[in-house]
Subunit: 227 residues, 2 copies
């Protein structure tokens, strides 16, 4: 298990049998619920044990690249909002786990792919390995908190969306009803989304479509201000 290493000086100090992995919490809106993608963990399917998707860190990939690769691998998604959550060290198992979370536009990626992973409502997850349930709860708290002081909610929607869709997103994630007029005022004042010339027709009066201002994305990322 303790692999041998080439003998320059720095290697002497390397704690070489610590495993390093990246895990990604994929959040998405499906069936009007906030859902999370989980992968089966048990050798034995009957156990019904699940885990957060992830990969060991390859020596040629950065942490964020590894996380991005997970998105591609698990749902074929490029270019989602991705943010580092926390790094957990498991002393007993010599394992370090760098955890990210991602916001996946709902209804873009199919419910099932070739992978055996599945979406679960965040409120009713299955039994998870290790401390993954705790990590999931923490991610949820962070996501909710973040929604309250930034406008990242649109990252869960397609490129173009109506204000009602955005409000619904906030309501689902935060788990509470919001006032329509106050919501619009606040979200527009935040100045990260802008109206487009297009409308969406459906039942009732057509709604104006919005999109996020491309120049505003950096700003949202920069407010990576909490633990």
């Amino acid at each position: 298990m303790s692999d041998l290493l080439p003998g320059n000086q720095i290697v002497k100090l390397v704690a070489c049998d610590i495993k390093l992995e990246v895990r990604v919490i994929l959040f998405s809106l499906r069936d009007r619920q906030l859902q999370v993608l989980l992968a089966p963990a048990g050798e034995n399917q009957a156990m019904d044990l699940w885990q957060l998707p992830g990969n060991l860190v390859d020596r040629f990939c950065s942490l964020e690249e590894t996380a991005s690769m997970c998105l591609v691998e698990y749902i074929g998604c490029r270019e989602a909002y991705l943010e580092q959550l926390y790094t957990y060290g498991y002393a007993g198992e010599q394992l370090v786990s760098v955890v990210y979370y991602a916001l996946i536009p709902g209804d873009i990626y199919p419910n099932k792919k070739h992978t055996p992973s599945q979406w679960f409502p965040v409120d009713t997850p299955p039994v998870l390995i290790s401390n993954h349930a705790e990590i999931l709860q923490y991610a949820l708290r962070r996501l909710r908190y973040k929604l309250e002081y930034t406008a990242v909610g649109f990252e869960l929607l397609p490129d173009h969306f109506t204000l009602s869709e955005l409000q619904s997103t906030y309501e689902i994630v935060l788990g509470e009803k919001l006032d329509k007029r106050n919501f619009r005022r606040r979200i527009l004042k935040a100045d990260v989304i802008e109206p487009t010339p297009h409308q969406r027709c459906g039942e009732g009066r057509p709604a104006r479509l919005f999109r996020y201002r491309p120049d505003a994305v950096a700003e949202v990322k920069a407010r990576r201000l909490f633990p």
Copy 2:
């Protein structure tokens, strides 16, 4: 290569030549300035290159333990406020750096120890290796932001402190003058510090001493809500 595997299979894929280190940003108030502890980085002293204190992660220590050990090693300090900041991956160097920051009560630990590390004002740090200057800036932003919505400021002070000392701490870290009455109202409403029966005598009228409520510490920690 990159499928996530449970249990024993994981070992096959270990990227064993990735180095894992913990760095700690030690903040402290000295000479009425916010200062940071740095360690010399150059083999050659003339270069005057510095770095954030840190250690490679030992196989038997957790990340937080490693960070705590840095505090002991560099300034002989146990029991400081310690919070994970961010984890940086350096793909080119196969290096992963888990960075914490710590708030060290000022004037408790002497300015110099047997270690060659030194305190520098955060505004005028020396030249730092790698991206350590950037990390320091990020830590500062996080600390300032955190002070605005929590009451962690007292972690930079001794066990007992006056409200004026606490206000001064906030002013130094945030870099702006605060209104005395508003400050007191806010900090008391936050409900994390409490008056003690004691007073501190000095010049002028004696000041009541406060301390943080032991049961409130968990609460502050729990608001580890930002990236």
